[in-house]
Subunit: 303 residues, 2 copies
DNA sequence: ATTTGCATTTTTGCACCAAGAAAGCCATTG
DNA sequence: CAATGGCTTTCTTGGTGCAAAAATGCAAAT
């Protein structure tokens, strides 16, 4: 009985909670609490726990629920691959995005074409296209079919994004509605320090980039103007699309982290002016030293 | 035989072309050309022409295609209502948006609930929800159902939007990649002068607001940075959602038109600095004098 | 030679059914 | 005896075939 995607996703999240120690070994897992936490009903949570019990990650006591077992790395290894790979699929969305960015699909296609190419059901394809629409690079044609919109595909787009961010991010901090929220600052400090101290070389690139975006998004959110925040989220999504194809410069990331911490320090001292200025410098630096290394895909390249 | 929505939409567009004189009376209509123009195949165009022929707006000559007839106001009247009302439906999207903005639906709903409430098929509902997602105020829940996100619902949102625009629009004009395109300027001048001279009192409010947005979007596009343009389009969509519920101040619109023309004049003289400054003033004025009159809907109001 | 008008092919929308998620209920447990 | 697990029931949604609609091909007419 192949568990549903939702169940697997939840299994994955629970496992992460245990691995990261947020659920201590031996602890009892309340179905209801986890369901509320994930925003779903108890059914998929329960199934996820069954799955994890099968994998010896949880222990089921009859009529008493599930308990976290010790996860030894050696033991966890196999089981982990079993679920993790299934749970986070290879993301058809990214495959499509990549194909479009490298001109391997025409700019106008039918749904049928896409379904065959990526082997998707109608609903799955809709999911992907909704996302692409949301990110702003796909739209329905009036009759049948979809059109992909030209996305600046190269360094030019990076520059445009950074020019835009250099404008809005520092300005957002100077908005009259900007409010310093110490809790948010503390949380970001925790994350950035965590990255810097422990494992900047080890963490998956995806996570590193995510944390970076998160920092900027949380700061801009303090402006109290949701449209600044939205605009940033929007361009960050596009940036991610381009960036995950380029090599991550981990050394550069270290510099960025410490700059983030500097900005946080200024904000903690309520020195918004300087923080805004530093933010601009920070973005400018990122633009100037942006690694121009773009990994070419194996496929042929149409100029 | 009730024609399809696409057919009706095209019929409507063709009629608009004739009414506005862009297709002179007596002119032959090439199926292929119109199909290309609308981005569809010949089939729906042809059907639309049949519909219009039935309504005596076109004349069909066997094997020679369709020709535009004179459209007398008196004659056109009835036929016009026939199609126009059908073609541009009452937009379920706006109904949903309105219901959400006035707290008449809960923040978490199932698709079923929405389908029943607005009497939509699954595909139609998807269409609506995709749009709402795209505009940033709806998202899927993990299991079943959708969640509507809190949108600043009143004057506060207007202010936020204008603060944002006051930042990005003038700045976009000062970007190093900003290029003056005389053709675009001329087109906008034509539109703005048209509004000002003829019929600012007569045109439908929808059209007036659309032309206003268009002006700003075309100008910001000249910045050569697609992200500025995107950001503006995004907030304009939200603004429209809020604005179509408020009373249109036609006198104020007249002032805006002439300010638009002043900006155009400066740009035509390549005086970008002053144009940017004036743009900021223009937006500031719009913010300051923004009509706070919001029409209340008939329904009860929570809170 | 071009374009219409019709025929053919292809694509998508819609109704139905099974899988999956949510909610209710009661026994068990501490 | 309150709280929670385990099971059952109810409801929602995703996947699949047919019909409507759009795209395309082609002979005939101008």
């Amino acid at each position: 009985m192949p568990a549903s995607p939702l169940t697997l996703r939840i299994a994955d999240e629970i496992k992460e909670l245990i691995r990261s120690g947020r659920i201590p070994v031996g602890e009892h897992l309340s179905t209801q609490r986890l369901a509320d936490q994930f925003g779903v009903s108890r059914s998929p949570v329960r199934e996820a726990m069954q799955v994890l019990a099968d994998q010896r990650i949880l222990e089921q006591h009859l009529n008493r629920g599930f308990f976290a077992r010790a996860v030894t790395e050696s033991r966890g290894k196999k089981a982990r691959n079993d679920v993790a790979e299934l749970a986070r699929g290879p993301s058809e969305y990214e495959a499509l995005a990549d194909d479009w960015l490298t001109d391997r699909i025409p700019s106008e296609v039918t749904e049928q074409f896409l379904r065959k190419r990526y082997d998707l059901t109608k609903a799955q394809l809709t999911e992907v296209l909704v996302r692409a629409t949301r990110e702003g690079w796909a739209e329905r044609k009036p009759g049948y079919g979809w059109r992909f919109l030209p996305v600046a595909k190269t360094t030019e787009a990076f520059e445009q994004i950074y020019r835009f961010r250099m404008l809005i991010e520092p300005a957002a901090m100077l908005e009259p509605t900007f409010r310093i929220d110490r809790q948010v600052l503390a949380e970001q400090r925790r994350i950035q320090e965590g990255m810097l101290s422990s494992d900047i070389a080890k963490l998956p690139a995806e996570r590193l980039l995510h944390n970076g975006s998160l920092f900027h998004e949380e700061i801009i959110k303090l402006s109290g103007n949701m449209f600044f925040h939205r605009a940033l989220v929007q361009v960050n999504r596009m940036r991610r699309l381009l960036e995950y194809r380029s090599k991550v410069d981990r050394q550069r990331l270290q510099v960025q982290c410490s700059e983030h911490l500097q900005i946080l320090a200024l904000l903690e001292n309520a020195n918004v002016m300087d923080a805004s200025y530093l933010m601009r410098q920070h973005l400018n630096g990122a633009l100037a030293r942006k690694s121009p290394v773009i990994l070419k895909r194996d496929g042929e390249k149409k100029d």
